[in-house]
Amino acid sequence: MAQTRQFCTFYLDKLLFGVELTGVQEVMRHLDMTQVPLAPEVVSGLINLRGQIVTAINLRKRLELAALGADAQPMNVVVRSEDGAVALLVDEIGDVVELAEDSFEPPPETLRGAVRGIILGVHKLEKQLLHVLDTEKACYLSTATEPPVN
């Protein structure tokens, strides 16, 4: 029997993504956010998570996907990063799935851009592909992303 791993899955722009369950702290419905001016674009804002201030990352933007509709309320997947908890904003939460290592494959060479560093690879599921994210990289904000002063 091949080794299996558990993933917390979610949808972004109809694509299925997953992060390893061990790195997930909790999943929250939509929470009020405070925007952080001057912050890198991918930072959606700050969330009060029971007295703890958590940075929310717009995962769609991070993965260079189209922005979510203005009235849609994204959900939060709160993951533990080396710099404390970070909330990843996702469209919809999926199931927790247990997958064997042998269904995994690294991303194809044709995958380019910022996304390549973040997507570790895919698990081939029956109906679709599960994109596995590198949590740490997804949470990482380059400090130089502040757009120049106009």
């Binding site: 405070t34 952080v36 001016p37 912050a39 700050l46 009060n48 201030i53 710099d83 400090t143 002063v149």
Partner: protein
């Protein structure tokens, strides 16, 4: 395990003791006759020596031992304390401290045996002993093996000392009978085992046994009886065992009471408590917000109570973290002594407000800056004794540390009575270094010039000159103080001394802040940087904001206040248009950042609130505009603005500033300094004019009928002299020639009063006739513009309006009163 605990306790206790030793030794140096202090020093060293002997730290014990020997001589009056001995003893304290830290990290007292120090101490001790020639019982450095912990083994104290020796036990001092007994055997006893001395004291006090009998028992003990004094007394049949037990209980209860009043608590526990209280405060805020929306009197009552309790709890928990500033000041006498000795100066240190309390984290944060300032004051501030004597100051310089609370902040002042800062030299230095042009530097007030010493890089150059060498590392001091939200300011009078004033907040964890709204989100502004709030209403709003080549400014009491639009700085989405143009109300939050004031334009000003500061995520920390975040009453997160960071950011955007930041600061800083009183009056065509008040003698109202003509001049009889009158309107206008023949005041009725300003000019008086006297105001008249016509010195903004300052000599000349004298501006120019 228990051994570890003993060692730990020993370390904590010893560190405290050593700090006290530093203090006591320096104190002793000043007042060598203080027997109590000496006894205290002796006891401290003795305790350390005893304990480390017990714990097996032999090297430490050896060092403490030679120190103790020296102290014994001092205590017995065979040696007098002098700087050399003090230095040696302080050296010993340092060595002990060094070894203690060694013990702390390795569990061993290190490899250094400090032979030189021991040699020195021994030498001093033996020199003292032989000089007196009468220390037969004293075996100076010899016995390292006497166990220490058993003081009885050390018998340096004579049974009948040459001088009256006071017993340490206060109890025995009270009773004269006991004092009598002390002559026989008490002193040695008291020193060896004070507890037993007290036992005797208690028994005597209770009338159970007389002093005679105690003395007998003591003698027996001295002769080698190892039993306790109570046992001896019982054995001799003087007292009943019950009485001894009762006395024992009294003895034991006393120290315990003292111990029970304080307990040691780990700092991390306090930190945790603080965090929890922070959470509680947040929850409280949320609760209050919620209850205000609910109609329920029961809930209201509870939440009110909850509010009170939470507030009190917060205060109390904050108090647990409070420490008197004396804790860090206590080391300063030593610092001052060392530095002063090092540079051949004599400096006395005084402290006021030692008990002023500060949060522990802040205490730690200001320790180094303060030490630096103290060192600096001694090193660079106070002059050499000879120099001081030459200029009639006492040889010994004074350094005064003062701490006090003021408006939720702690002020710490470090004052020396030294040479002071030389503004002229600093000014020159600044010009030489190309920081300012001569003109800019000339315009700067003394205070701004002094504050140059806090600029990085300024220091080292200034060091060359001996008077103004205070800048060494002052920039670091400033940075460190500002890091904890404090400010530093320096005041100085040449030849009389310098005062450095440090203002710091009481605590960092929970701060009062002003909550504002901008672009739909709330932001908190720490109250410490807040100066005032200005609200410009309809119409006035638009008129109030002006542009200096595109940079928005507002005239705040006549001074131009640079404006920063928060939405623009934060690039919030409100069409990039400043709020002023959108609404009829402009809210300006006047802030102070680094001696520089600016107005922050925000959408809405909400309220002041106590907020709990939470740090931002590491990667967001790079945004300098925010100092952290906090959770508001409704549970939403609000960012805390970093006023310094915001100011920096703003000045980057309006390019004109940049390097000239210093100049800007100068312009802003002048507000605090040179205010002058001006007389405002209406000149021709109702134009606003002003004269410095000190150029005027009186303001008079004369009936027009009193005006007479003398030759080509108008005059009036005034207080027994003839006062030449000049109508300002004529003097200012070109056409004055033809006007000579007219009346002094055109169209005025015979009896209508005319307003006359009587000016002192070169010893004589001249009357200036003006339209109307308006007001007397204080202002800096900072924004100046060159004069547009003759007779006017310059235009300035006084009380928010452009006002012309009159050039009296020029007017007099124009009026033909003073043509013989060359024009002198001394009175009017600043």
């Amino acid at each position: 395990m228990s051994e570890d605990n003993i060692v730990k306790d020993f370390l904590v206790e010893s560190y405290e003791n050593l700090d006290r030793l530093d203090r006591e030794l320096v104190g002793l140096e000043k007042n060598p006759e203080d027997r109590n202090a000496l006894a205290g020093v002796f006891r401290t060293i003795h305790t350390i020596k005893g304990t480390c002997g017990f714990l097996g730290f032999n090297k430490l014990e050896k060092v403490a031992h030679v120190g103790e020997n020296l102290l014994t001589l001092l205590r017995d009056g065979q040696l007098k304390l002098n700087p050399e001995i003090t230095t040696a003893l302080l050296g010993m304290v340092d060595a002990v401290r060094q070894m203690l830290s060694e013990i702390q990290s390795t569990g061993q007292d290190g490899n250094d045996e400090y032979p030189q120090l021991i040699e020195k101490l021994t030498h001093l001790a033996s020199a003292g002993a032989s000089a007196k020639g009468s220390a037969p019982y004293h075996k100076a450095p010899a016995k390292p093996a006497d166990g220490g912990a058993i003081p009885a083994a050390k018998e340096p104290v004579p049974a009948a000392p040459p001088m009256e020796k006071k017993s340490e036990a206060p109890m025995s001092e009270k009773t004269p009978r006991d004092a009598k007994s002390s002559k026989k055997g008490k002193p040695g006893e008291a020193l060896r085992k004070p507890v037993h001395g007290k036992m005797g004291g208690i028994l005597v006090e209770r009338g159970l046994v007389d002093a005679e009998k105690i003395a007998m028992a003591l003698e027996q003990q001295e002769q080698g009886d190892r039993r306790k004094i109570g046992e001896i007394l019982v054995a001799l049949g003087f007292v009943k065992p019950e009485d001894i037990l009762a006395a024992q209980q009294i003895l034991e209860s006393k120290p315990r009471e003292a111990v029970a009043e304080t307990i040691r608590v780990g700092v991390n526990l306090l930190d945790k408590l603080m965090t929890l209280v922070g959470e509680l405060v947040l929850a409280r805020n949320q609760l209050l917000q919620y209850t205000s929306t609910v109609e329920n009197s029961g809930l209201q009552t509870i939440s009110q109570r909850m509010n009170l309790i939470a507030t009190e709890l917060q205060e109390e928990v904050m108090k647990t973290r409070m420490q008197p500033i004396g804790n860090i000041w206590n080391q300063f006498p030593r610092t001052v002594r060392d530095v002063a000795l090092g540079c051949g100066k004599e400096v006395e240190i005084e402290m006021e407000g030692k008990e002023t309390e500060l949060d522990k984290t802040i205490i730690e944060a200001i320790k180094d800056p303060l030490t630096h300032l103290v060192r600096n004051a001694v090193d660079h501030g106070v002059e050499l004794p000879e120099e001081r004597a030459k200029i009639g100051k006492p040889r010994t310089g004074r350094l005064i540390l003062r701490a006090f609370h003021e408006g939720g902040q702690v002020n710490i002042e470090i004052t020396d009575d030294g040479a002071g800062l030389n503004a002229q030299r600093l000014r020159q230095k600044a010009i030489e270094r190309g920081m300012f042009t001569a003109e800019q530097a000339g315009r700067m007030s003394e205070r701004e010039i002094f504050n140059l010493i806090f600029l990085p890089g300024f220091s080292t150059a200034a060091k060359v000159t001996n008077v103004s060498g205070r800048g060494v590392g002052m920039d670091v001091v400033k940075t460190n103080v500002e890091k904890i939200g404090g400010t530093v300011d320096v005041q100085s009078t040449l030849g009389q001394g310098t005062t450095v004033r440090v203002k710091i907040p009481l605590t960092l964890a929970i701060i009062p802040a002003l909550v504002i709204t901008c672009g739909g989100d709330r932001y908190a502004i720490p109250q410490v940087s807040l100066l005032e709030l200005v609200r410009l209403e309809t119409g006035e709003g638009r008129a109030g904001i002006e542009l200096v080549h595109g940079a928005p400014v507002y005239r705040l009491r006549g001074r131009l206040l640079p404006l920063v639009f928060l939405n623009r700085e934060l690039r919030l989405s409100s069409n990039g248009e400043p709020a002023a143009q959108q609404s009829d109300v402009v809210n300006i939050v006047v802030l102070q950042a680094d001696e520089r004031q600016f107005g922050l334009v925000v959408d809405e000003i909400n309220d002041t609130e106590e907020i709990v500061v939470k740090p931002l995520r590491k990667q967001l920390k790079s945004i300098k505009t925010f100092a952290g975040a906090s959770i508001m009453g409704d549970g939403k997160v609000a960012l805390i603005l970093d006023v310094m960071g915001l100011a920096q950011r703003a000045s980057v955007i309006t390019e004109a500033r940049g390097r000239a930041a210093g100049e800007k600061a100068a312009a802003a800083g002048a507000a605090g300094g040179e205010k002058r009183s001006f007389l405002l009056f209406a000149g021709p065509d109702q134009s606003r004019m002003a004269l410095p008040l000190d150029t005027l003698a009186r303001l008079e109202e004369l009936p027009a009928s009193q005006v007479e003509k003398s030759g080509t001049h108008w005059v009036a009889q005034y207080r027994g002299e003839i006062l030449p009158l000049i109508n300002l309107a004529y003097a200012l206008e070109e056409r004055r020639q033809e006007l000579r023949h007219k009346k002094l005041v055109e169209g005025a009725a015979e009896d209508a009063p005319i307003q006359v300003l009587v000016c002192n000019h070169q010893g004589s008086r001249v009357g200036l006739v003006v339209e109307q006297i308006l007001d007397i105001v204080e202002d800096t008249a900072e924004v100046r513009h060159p004069a547009s016509r003759a007779g006017v010195l310059y235009s300035a903004v006084i009380q928010g309006q452009v006002t012309e300052l009159i050039d009296i000599p020029a007017i007099l000349q124009a009026g033909g009163v003073d043509s013989s004298h060359p024009v002198e501006h001394a009175e009017v120019t600043q």
